[in-house]
Amino acid sequence: MAIEFLNKSDLSLGQKLWRLHWIFVLVLIATASVGFVMLYSAANGSLEPWAGRQILRFSMGLGLMLLVAMTNLRIWLKYSYAFYAVTLVLLGAVELGGTIGMGAQRWIDLGVINLQPSELMKVALVLALARYFHGGNMEEVARPTFLLAPLLMVAAPTALVLRQPDLGTAVMLVMGSGAIFFVAGVKMWKFAVLLLGALISAPVGWQFLREYQKQRVLTFLNPESDPLGSGYHIIQSKIALGSGGVFGKGFMQGSQSHLSFLPEKQTDFIFTMLAEEFGLMGGLGLLCLYILILAYGFNIALNCRNHYGRLVGMGVTTTFFLYVFINIAMVMGLIPVVGVPLPLISYGGTAMMTLLLGFGLLLSVHINRDEPIGRRGAADDF
């Protein structure tokens, strides 16, 4: 019976391609293309050194995404914990090994790209938590002891990335996981308790922050206090955004970006350059593309008939949302400066791979939306 179901549930490649969410893929390509255009501008009208390589990376990532989309969701379910465990070991290796031997190196050199375990962990944690909550029914989720294991799953990698210290990734891991806990049905008061605990322990946590992180928080609170030091980035970014006005200064005409007043214009501050050159309209346009992606993500998660797929879908979508929100809020001076790139736009390989891996999973959820999956991964047991 199990075999029968398995066979029955296995879609052929043709069916999978038929069920692939092509519009979603097109929206992704459109968004990434905005990035190519901005990188072309950042290099003063040249494919070198950024836009060309970014196109190459995106194409490779797109291949990876489709490959992931084509794999059966049950296989991901089956290997969720293993994937998480391997990633955690890698993360531990670069963290602990890194601090001992190789300085602050946070990646593993794979030749083509540098694999950054902390980035990979954003996906691995989503998978592991989805697997865990998929396996528990509502009564179990209501039991506080049931939550100990997933909390530990979150705490371990968070502690490791905080050691780096990579505040941005830590925040994303915690908040992304929180969203999964939330949609999995964990009671509200438990979040309240956790939040209270966090607030109480915040002064203690402050002690563990590195000097530059403390500085960033302080600078965020009053950027004008140090206009040539840490506050410089945010002040210049706000000037660039504000001076862009409603319609912007025109393509490749951003004076703040092109005269080097804006730092990191090809990576973390690329949204600023876009908003300087294309104004409020450009910024809103990109935001619309992002909202479209988020809406499709929600839609895919809501319409999935298995819990694992729903949780993976929401996890990936929330991770993507966090990228968008943290980056844009940061460049506009709403939150402290944290190193989170603008998804699909910022120059850089690792985040791109993480995102496309996530979107591959999301597409797989979509393709397998009608597959019932049992608590332990089998199709028979609901």
């Binding site: 908003a275 409020l280 929600f298 709403l334």
Partner: protein, 637 residues
């Protein structure tokens, strides 16, 4: 299945809540964008422009100064300089240290730089070094990434092609000193030069022009990306002088190593054709900045190279004053052309003896002989008859004893003594013996070489109160800023008396026995007239007179007589007047007259004052010498 649908429902509810939360956060982003890009946009646009646009002052080219024939005598040259913009470097000391590895910077220089940095606004560049060689320029350019705030600037520097010969007339320009800054932003520009003396000082405002400005786009590191707007400002006004450079050079050459002065002027227009004071100095050196040693050498030089002796030197006129005495005596009627006085070599007044320069005396002497052979006894006598008041009055009419108002700073008034003067200044009554001394241009009488040239001019131009001037036109584009010559007053001299004196001056030079006969101009149409003078600077003791009066060559330089000559040419229709003073040169006939002969002959050959040349010859209203500190210094004159 049932359980899962329960779970699905809860999931959907929670997802809706989550979506709502995200929507709120995204709205916050949109709100922030609206605030920055719509509400506050104007402010940020201004800030962005402040970031990228730099304003710079442009120094206008300083007006050229040309001589009466248009030959440039003060010009501008390109000059590469390295400047520091303090606000563009975080650590000035570090930047200077790095620059020091390319071009050595002395400690004293560094102190000056740091002082200037403190004094000026942080975006105003400070000049570190000027007149850079090409190699230095190239090496600094290559290293600019390591030298924040350092820039190469092409400036213009003043250049005087006839530096030594024209130094006293033109003066020089030099960097603005601390007390001289005014509202004019130009004065804050690095390396900006203003006139510090001479014509450069008097006409500084006109020569300076007005500042232009430049708007440039710069990047975050201060590098200029492009020029946005340029306003060249008003270049300095071109100034034409009355000087004839060739004549100036010749006079300077004739004075050679002597300390002295030559002034040549047009007796009718007052144009100063040459005004040389030796030794000269190099105004170009002032422009570059003098070292302490160079400065001390100039200041401590016995021959005072920094003083324009033509207007700033006080000399007893000696025998050149005798024409004044003669004119006064004739006017008072105490002598006629025929009056004769016997010269025995000395005369006595009370118990004092007054000697003639000729120990054995001139015998019977009339006015003509008295001037031609410069008989002292004759003039002791007629001075005694005329009295100091009438002599002083005549001297003043002829231009002595007061500043003439030449458009140069540093003019001295000279001194024409009188009874009133002596009471006021010395506090003692006038002695008759002093009248006798004044009669031969000694004693209290003091004149400047320029006054002597004016004196002779007024005597040979028919008694017109001509005044000297150095500038013809200020040329500003097409506008000629000049004023027509004011009508010169007649000083009321009797033509017959003037003719008598002129005839005597002709005899001084052109008739054997005249004191300057050896220095006559042989070409008939160029013949000159004039008067020698030898001004004693020491007192000859009675004992020395009884034994033997020492010759000049036997005395130390400082005690030798000044040699003087005043003259005019051509004798028949005087056009040029000259005064020559050679400090401690010895006798006027031996030293000064030959110089006058050479200069006057060339002046006539060049005929620089010929009518129709560069006409109309106009005289400028003398500008106020505006003190840079804001106070008016012209009141002192």
């Amino acid at each position: 299945m049932h359980r899962d649908s329960e779970r699905h429902k809860q999931f959907s509810r929670r997802t809706a809540l989550l979506a709502g939360g995200k929507a709120v956060l995204l709205s916050a982003l949109v709100g922030r964008m609206y605030f920055l890009q719509v509400v506050e946009s104007k402010r940020y646009k201004t800030l962005a422009d402040e970031n990228r646009i730099n304003f710079r002052l442009l120094a206008p080219p300083r007006g050229r100064i040309v001589d009466r024939f248009g030959v440039p005598i003060a010009d501008n040259q390109q000059n590469y300089q390295v400047v520091l913009i303090p606000e563009q470097t975080e650590d000035i000391e570090e930047t200077l240290l790095r620059l020091g590895r390319i071009i050595p910077i002395r400690n004293s220089e560094k102190k000056r730089i740091l002082r200037e940095v403190r004094r000026k606004r942080s975006f105003v560049p400070v000049t570190l070094r000027e007149n850079l060689s090409w190699e230095d320029v190239a090496r600094i350019e290559v290293n600019t990434p390591d030298l924040p705030g350092i820039m190469i600037d092409v400036g213009q520097s003043r250049f005087y092609p006839y530096a030594l010969e024209t130094a006293h007339v033109l003066g020089y320009v030099a960097a603005v000193s601390e007390g001289e800054t005014t509202d004019d932003p130009l004065l804050e520009l690095p390396g900006f030069r203003i006139g510090k003396s001479g014509i450069e000082k008097v006409y500084d405002l006109a020569l300076r022009g007005s500042s232009g400005n430049l708007q440039v786009e710069v990047n975050a590191f201060g590098r200029v990306i492009r020029e946005l707007e340029r306003n060249e400002g008003q270049p300095g006004t071109r100034l034409q002088l009355t000087i004839d450079t060739e004549l100036q050079k010749l006079a300077s050459e004739k004075l050679a190593d002597e300390s002295g002065s030559v002034v040549v002027m047009d007796v009718h227009s007052g144009d100063v054709l040459a005004m040389v004071s030796t030794p000269g100095f190099d105004p170009n050196a002032f422009n570059k900045g003098l070292s302490t040693d160079e400065w001390n050498a100039l200041v401590n030089n016995d021959k005072s190279p920094l003083i324009n002796k033509s207007i700033g030197g006080h000399y007893a006129p000696g025998s050149t004053f005798k024409m004044v005495v003669a004119m006064a005596a004739l006017e008072k009627g105490v002598i006629s052309s025929e009056s004769e006085i016997f010269c025995s070599g000395k005369t006595e007044l009370g118990n004092a003896t007054f000697h003639c320069w000729k120990k054995d005396g001139h015998g019977v002497t009339n006015l003509n002989k008295g001037i031609a052979q410069s008989c002292d006894v004759y003039f002791y006598e007629i001075a005694k008859r005329t009295g100091i008041e009438r002599i002083a009055e005549m001297a003043r009419r002829l231009g002595l004893g007061a500043r003439l108002g030449l458009d140069l700073p540093g003019e001295k008034p000279g001194l024409v003594p009188s009874n009133k003067w002596k009471k006021a200044v010395i506090g003692a009554p006038w002695q008759q013996g002093e009248t006798l001394l004044a009669g031969i241009g000694q004693g209290y009488v003091l004149t400047t070489p320029l006054q002597l040239a004016v004196m002779i001019s007024r005597m040979v131009n028919g008694g017109v109160a001509v005044t000297p001037h150095l500038t013809r036109d200020l040329i500003n584009g097409d506008d000629v800023l000049s004023k027509n010559e004011e009508e010169n007053k007649d000083i009321g001299l009797v033509p017959a008396h003037l003719a008598l004196v002129r005839d005597a001056m002709n005899r001084v030079v052109n008739v054997p026995g005249g004191t300057a006969f050896n220095s006559r101009i042989r070409k008939t149409e160029f013949r000159m007239g004039g008067k020698t003078g030898t001004a004693q600077v020491r007192r000859i003791s009675k004992q020395e007179r009884e034994t033997r009066v020492l010759k000049n060559e036997e005395l130390p330089w400082k005690e030798r007589d000044h040699a003087l000559f005043v003259g005019y040419a051509p004798v028949d229709a005087p056009r040029y007047a000259i005064s020559v003073v050679v400090e401690h040169g010895g006798g006027g006939s031996k030293i000064a007259a030959p110089i006058a002969r050479d200069v006057l002959e060339v002046a006539q050959r060049r005929n620089a004052a010929r009518p129709g040349d560069n006409q109309p010859v106009r005289k400028l209203a003398k500008p106020k010498i505006v003190a840079l500190s804001g106070k008016d210094e012209s009141g002192q004159g």
